[in-house]
Symmetry: C2
């Protein structure tokens, strides 16, 4: 019961901060005495801090003291292994980014080596956070992969060429004693959490975030929560078939969206080096190079077919474009919009809004750190107990 009430109070502070004890009591149905005792524990464990005095509507007498999450002690780490990059980010409880490291590398290599590198990178971020007085209580690692339900093993990451990789090969010891177990999660799902809490999705209860790099993934948010599917494999937008007689995809099917609009397919179709960045493509589109224009138009048209399928099936309130597809710019967006309108407007009267991601490449690392805090707010004892041990 006490565990449950701690979570209730911390959740209320997180949602309403700054907020008085009286208002927390009113919102939760707990007595003021109980709230005060629980708040005292949360303050002692440095999850909550007493901010400037506030006088709230309906409060009489002395102004209530404003409670907020403590942004100066507890922190979380988001990490991302994508095909071409390693990135780590440390957020404090106020969701301010305090450390950010990234480095470009082709990660289509031995998974143990890559996990060793991200572990070193993460350890460096934890050290830099420590210099700011922050204790990193947990980490999430984003991977473009299907994962098992325990979130500790990569089942298959087709675009990395990885199969059946447990996280703990190189990870142990990155976080200090007493930290939460590190989870791995699908890059698109974490990116959707990032957009939901810090980005373009904040004003939508339901949206589909399109992300990815070599592959194309999607994070599906329904009722303000990520929908991960019955097997945990929802959002595989890149494998929606857009050309039934098209090229063979790594997944065994023909004509998947990725075979037309994945970054490498797109660069190849434009006559460019498939392992290069998007710079040359954006330049070629800018100078109206015919092959580049045709490749971008084909990708946008394929994306329209797949997204129209998603709208017909799920009917999200908005579509948020992240990753390289957003970076290509207005030519792609214009063709995409035309393709969606042609397929959706007659029946529906309108098409969902297509927005650009507000976080760009960072949505998954940020979402990974946010996911750690969600676990902490749902059960602060996890951290409090360990925090005792950590200090002991």
């Amino acid at each position: 019961m006490r565990e449950h009430n701690l979570a209730v109070v911390l959740g209320e502070v997180a949602r309403q901060q700054p907020v008085s004890r009286a208002r927390v009591a009113a919102a939760t149905g707990l007595t003021k005495t109980t709230v005060s005792a629980l708040v005292a524990d949360l303050v002692r464990e440095r999850l909550v801090v007493q901010a400037e005095a506030t006088r709230e509507e309906g409060d009489r007498g002395r102004p209530g003291s404003g409670l907020s999450l403590d942004g100066d002690h507890v922190a979380a780490l988001g990490c991302e292994i994508s095909v071409g990059r390693l990135a780590v980010s440390v957020l404090d409880l106020q969701l301010r980014q305090r450390v950010r490291l990234e480095r470009w590398a082709d990660n289509r290599r031995d998974p143990a080596t890559v996990l060793g590198e991200i572990s070193e990178f993460a350890a460096e971020a934890v050290r830099l956070a420590g210099e700011q007085g922050l204790w990193v209580v947990g980490a999430t690692v984003a991977v473009p992969a299907l994962l098992d339900r325990t979130a500790s093993r990569i089942v298959v990451a087709p675009n990395l060429g990885w199969h059946d990789v447990p996280l703990d090969q190189r990870w142990s010891g990155v976080l200090g004693a007493g930290a939460l177990p590190t989870h791995v999660d699908n890059e698109a799902n974490l990116a959707a959490i990032g957009e939901l809490r810090l980005g373009a999705g904040a004003s939508h209860e339901s949206f589909m975030l399109v992300t990815g790099e070599v592959g194309i993934g999607a994070g599906l948010v329904i009722d303000s929560a990520v929908h991960s599917g019955a097997s945990g494999y929802a959002g595989e937008l890149g494998h929606v078939v857009v050309r039934p007689d098209g090229d063979r995809c790594g997944c065994g099917a023909r004509g998947c969206l990725e075979t037309v609009a994945g970054k490498e397919s797109l660069l190849r179709a434009a006559g460019l080096d498939p392992r290069a960045g998007l710079g040359p493509l954006i330049e070629a589109v800018g100078s109206a190079e015919p092959r580049a224009l045709a490749a971008v138009d084909a990708a946008a048209e394929a994306l329209a077919v797949a997204l129209a399928a998603a709208v017909n099936i799920v009917d999200p309130g908005a579509i948020i474009l992240g990753g390289p597809l957003a970076a290509i710019g207005p030519r792609l967006l214009h063709t995409l919009d035309r393709g969606l309108t042609a397929r959706l407007r007659t029946l529906r009267g309108s098409t969902p809004r297509v927005l650009a991601s507000a976080l760009g490449d960072d949505s998954a690392v940020l979402g990974g750190a946010v996911a750690v805090f969600d676990a902490v707010v749902a059960d602060p004892r996890l951290v409090m107990t360990r925090s005792g041990r950590h200090r002991g």
Copy 2:
């Protein structure tokens, strides 16, 4: 507060029946005295009945009296207007079917005329229910259509050729005074409710029910509730594009699933009368008539493309096939299964189970009646207040 507690008690009885007052009190956190008073009201209003005495584990002394929903008084009406049929069904609170009427008719006519006919049909069902001592407290009308949010107006029913039709043109007076307002809802969504509560979906928290007739729709169930989408237009599986350069569809797009696997398209491709029933097609498949086999295989392959898209995007726990596609039989199911496996197995390791609907053509009418009861259980006062008026 009292209204809320009435709903809590009725909901507990509905879930646990037969159940003792003591157990209801324990499950809801209400006192036994409060539960007894609320139960007395629900019994007086004939929503709950005291069934045979039961002695439950943990109960001491006299056996608790078993409370159940009263299956002998309150009833609900489900109606369906499909392209080729009108159907109505009356369920009692125990979800037993007490009246069922159906009639074949081509409903691609003036909506006012068809609404007049379904109203007469419904009035006949209400009369027959009344002869059994049942009071029909509400009705839902299933239509293969997109509906507005108030559920009282059909925005567009493409396969009926209807646009902007308010329900109340011919409906008023079908139910007696004091009944709930009648709602219209999408046929596939109601069919999904039917399957969830009475059919093949009962053992799945998430599934996609494929239904339809001339068109193809889907009802998407997530976490045991129908997901109707941000605009209420989820589940339009028939308009997922399966052949980007295919035939023009009524919706304005090319190569929608309906243009290949909709009943009329399928019959036409098989060289049969598109307005006939499925009998001749099933017969032609049975005698291995090449055009019929090719048409069924093409439909199954198109369905596999669209359902693989749905699995990639939503990852439902099961797929339930209803409507004509299920009726065609093993040839279609076999090709569909092969098509799903080819597209999904490499990445996922498995494909979701494909089940046949347990309710056949009745899932939508039954789901419509269930939806009325869900509203009653959520707020029994709606019916109780009116029930007083009804009797007055």
